[in-house]
């Protein structure tokens, strides 16, 4: 995130649908961040189950204070990875 004290936040995408929405409480106002993505299940083994990778296709916010949400890396293939950049109005 830019234009705020928070620099980085970790959000996990839903493995079973192609739209994940997070409600964010910000100065007593609830804002919604939408991330549209394509989940891809990778079978590892019967004991370990499936790992899920995603391809982010779009991201936007309902909050007018958010200037833009840009995708910096569409492929979600690791737990710690920079994928989105949220620009806030000053």
């Amino acid at each position: 995130m830019q234009g705020n004290g928070i620099k980085v936040m970790g959000l996990e995408l839903r493995p079973d649908t192609n739209l994940t929405a997070y409600l964010m409480l910000y100065h007593d106002q609830i804002d919604t961040l939408y991330i549209q993505h394509t989940p891809r299940q990778q079978f590892i083994s019967l004991a370990c189950g499936c790992a899920v990778y995603h391809t982010i296709t779009a991201a936007w916010s309902s909050d007018p204070r958010v200037d833009s949400v840009s995708i910096i890396n569409a492929a979600v293939e690791a737990i710690v990875q920079d994928n989105l950049c949220i620009h806030l109005h000053e």
């Binding site: 079973d16 299940q41 019967l46 499936c50």
Partner: protein, 214 residues
């Protein structure tokens, strides 16, 4: 029962009578039909009857030293782990060539080394597969009616010995290297591959054959 015994005896006698001797100078030195017992029993024993694999092979002896080989088989597997279940069945084939290590004139007894290219096509279901997410919790997924073709290469070593007239037996140890390691978009790879075994990049196999040479 006696009639069955008589038929089997007559068949054996007919086979013995048809075993042929080939001239030393002939390129074609006969054809062997092999039935695997070792891998079938091993798979059944290791999996407590949940995996069945049957295979047969044909090889031709050329110039006393070269053995072009075709192997075909069928396997069924039903295997569970941590709630997940693989249930599949399919056919497989291997094509390759063996080379007699020691050139011993007209002897039918040989140590063999060779290469195989194998392929398997199977239908399978993967059910109750775990999908764990730290935030969203654990879910169970089902993948029904999946189809997949896998192929692999093998280095084999073994022997083939003459037991009585045309009857032969032999064994092979196989080192298998899986070529098809990646899944297509949305595809879930099987846990077991007929002819290869459990899906690993490297795998081992063993066959013990009973054979008859025509």
């Amino acid at each position: 029962m006696n009639r069955l015994l008589l038929i089997v005896t007559l068949c054996c006698l007919a086979l013995c009578a048809s075993a042929r001797e080939y001239a030393d100078t002939a390129v074609y030195q006969g054809l062997s039909v092999k039935l695997d017992i070792g891998n079938s029993v091993l798979e059944l024993a290791r999996s407590a009857g949940k995996i069945q694999s049957y295979e047969a092979a044909i090889n031709v002896r050329l110039a006393k030293r070269f053995y072009p080989t075709l192997e075909v088989g069928y396997a069924m597997a039903e295997r569970g782990a941590d709630g997940g279940m693989h249930k599949g069945q399919g056919g497989f084939g291997r094509l390759g060539m063996d080379l007699a290590v020691v050139k011993k004139g007209a002897s039918e007894n040989n140590m063999l080394v060779g290469l195989r290219f194998g392929g398997a096509y199977q239908n399978y279901d993967l059910t109750d597969v775990k999908l764990h997410s730290e935030y969203w919790g654990e879910q169970r997924l089902n993948f029904y009616d999946q189809q997949r073709f896998d192929c692999w290469g093998e280095i084999v070593a073994g022997c083939q010995v003459q037991v009585y007239k045309g009857f032969q037996m032999g064994w092979y140890v196989r080192m298998k290297l899986l070529f098809t390691r990646n899944a297509k978009e949305g595809e879930v790879m099987p846990y077991y591959v007929p002819g290869l075994g459990f899906r690993k990049d490297f795998n081992w196999g063993f066959n013990y054959y009973l054979a008859y040479k025509f």
